[in-house]
């Protein structure tokens, strides 16, 4: 057979022998195979190839859990907004939480957050902006079209999840409130109501819980103002009714149940940095090469995925969002500014 016609789609037609016919299961499973490759089981090099190739394939969108009010979103077109990793089971994502206001055990937030009143809810916009004010939740929900984004979430403790959030880029809100030239940082404040939150009376952390981002981090398209997950509104324990999600940083940077967003020229004093300066930095970018003082950050356990006896998976630089965010930190010493 000539080289030109052999296997070339434009040159002639070969009857395939039956043994060449792809088995039905393999054909049906090709997206799964691509997804697995993209998730890294095929090795780092293959993974990036598969990720690019598989971008056209739909990242799996889990079905609505049917527990809370629906909050649909259209699949985001922002680069990096839809990871190929398999989303975590809703049961795990909504019962394994760090939300110290409701207790320090992982099961406490789901148990105790029932008291949280998410309506009426307002977010106060303050500081270095031309349009400060108080926005109620309804206004926020209408601010920009809701998108579905599937993000990795890496906790500083060494576990991770994949959550399909619903929300829009924080940048949409920021543009509407018109920050002045003095706005170098954005500060986020969580609700701290001792009547609704049992631990706010304790001294486990400085209340209210404060987090912050540099202006360029806040304006990045991947920085998400989230109102829902899994196609529904946020459960209380996940930071209802509105929270921040910054996927390339450790999870504690993603402040929950936000009541105030303040634009400032000074770096905000963030909760965990105030609690333990040596351990939790302002930036807290996910970085397998910079250890936490008490444990390594080189590996992580993906909740619901990695088998009990399987070795932990390697942590990715910037939680795998390097192509989208590394430029924000060009030239910065990531060990010094951890």
């Amino acid at each position: 057979m000539s080289a030109r016609s052999h296997g070339h789609p434009d040159h002639g037609f070969f009857h395939p022998v039956p043994s060449e016919i792809t088995p039905a299961e393999v054909y049906a499973g090709r997206r799964q195979w691509l997804r697995q490759l993209a998730a890294g089981t095929g090795g780092a090099v293959l993974a990036s190839w598969a990720a690019r190739d598989a971008l056209a394939q739909a990242a799996s969108s889990p079905a609505r859990p049917g527990k809370l009010a629906a909050l649909p979103g259209t699949r985001s077109a922002v680069p990096g907004a839809l990871v190929m990793d398999k989303p975590t089971a809703y049961a795990d994502a909504s019962t394994y939480n760090n939300f110290y206001e409701f207790g320090t055990d992982k099961a406490d937030p789901a148990r105790n957050a029932g008291k949280l009143q998410t309506r009426p809810w307002t977010v106060s916009i303050e500081g270095e902006v031309k349009k400060p004010g108080v926005l109620d939740l309804e206004a926020l929900l209408k601010l920009a079209p809701m998108e579905e984004r599937i993000y990795r979430l890496r906790c500083v403790e060494g576990w991770s999840m994949v959550i399909p959030w619903v929300g829009f880029s924080l940048a949409e809100l920021i543009r509407k409130v018109e920050p002045t030239g003095n706005a170098k940082y954005v500060e986020f404040v969580t609700l701290a109501d001792p009547k609704q939150m049992p631990m706010v009376g304790s001294r486990v952390l400085d209340w209210p819980y404060v987090e912050g981002l540099r202006m360029d981090e806040a304006m990045h398209p991947l920085t998400l103002l989230a109102f829902g997950m899994y196609g529904e509104v946020l459960p209380n324990q996940n930071g209802a009714p509105v929270r921040l999600v910054v996927p390339w940083k450790y999870g504690f940077k993603s402040a929950k149940s936000i009541v105030k967003i303040r634009f400032t020229d000074k770096q905000p004093g963030t909760a965990w940095n105030k609690a333990a300066q040596q351990e939790y930095g302002f930036f807290s970018n996910v970085n397998p090469e910079v250890d936490h003082p008490r444990w390594s950050q080189a590996t992580e356990r993906r909740i619901g995925e990695d088998g009990l006896f399987a070795k932990k998976r390697p942590t990715l630089m910037f939680n795998g969002y390097g192509s989208q965010v590394a430029s924000l930190y060009a030239g910065m010493d990531l060990r010094k500014f951890f």
């Binding site: 049961a91 394994y96 320090t104 992982k106 936490h292 008490r294 006896f309 932990k312």
Partner: protein, 218 residues
Amino acid sequence: MHRAVLNRVLLHPAAKPLLWLLCLVPLAGWVWGGFHDRLGANPAETLLRGTGAWTLRFLCVVLAVTPLRQWSGLNALARWRRMLGLYAFFYSVLHFLAYAWLDMGFDPAAVVQDLARRPFALVGFLAFVLLVPLAATSFNRAIKALGAARWKRLHRLVYAIALLGLLHFFWMRASKHRYDEVLVYAVLIGGLLGMRLWRGMRTIPVLQGHDLSRTSRE
């Protein structure tokens, strides 16, 4: 209940096997949970934390035997001290296995590197290592070979082990600012060790001047 009656109940031939079974309940819970996917979202963490908690608890129980016996006069309790001590060791082995296998994938180089980097883990490992000679000399032949005085001195290591275990737990929880559970164990262990210290001081005649204490030594 009348002390003598209670003592007889505790001396019943079924009492020790029953206690032996009871001590296995935490392990049974994990095995059952493992098969029924009830170990939570992070099973490795559940097992690591659970085995650690029960090691500490059994250490507390062991340390409580003698004070309880002395206070209640129920001498039958003395028979159980060895078994409870061995169970503390047993759960510490499970705790170390959970760490070395589930966390570190049985990679010896990784374990060494990790212990070097994490003081709290190193302290825990030290406590575990110190438990080994105690477990190894818990059998009658070992007691005879060592002799009562030497055996007693060796097994006083359990005080250091309990304190190291507490430090291990405290240090781990400190970076998450979670001190409440640690406080409970600190009060328990502090109390149980403090009791011995107080007793020890009371029975040293020199400290009391000319007064020879009438309370018996342990």
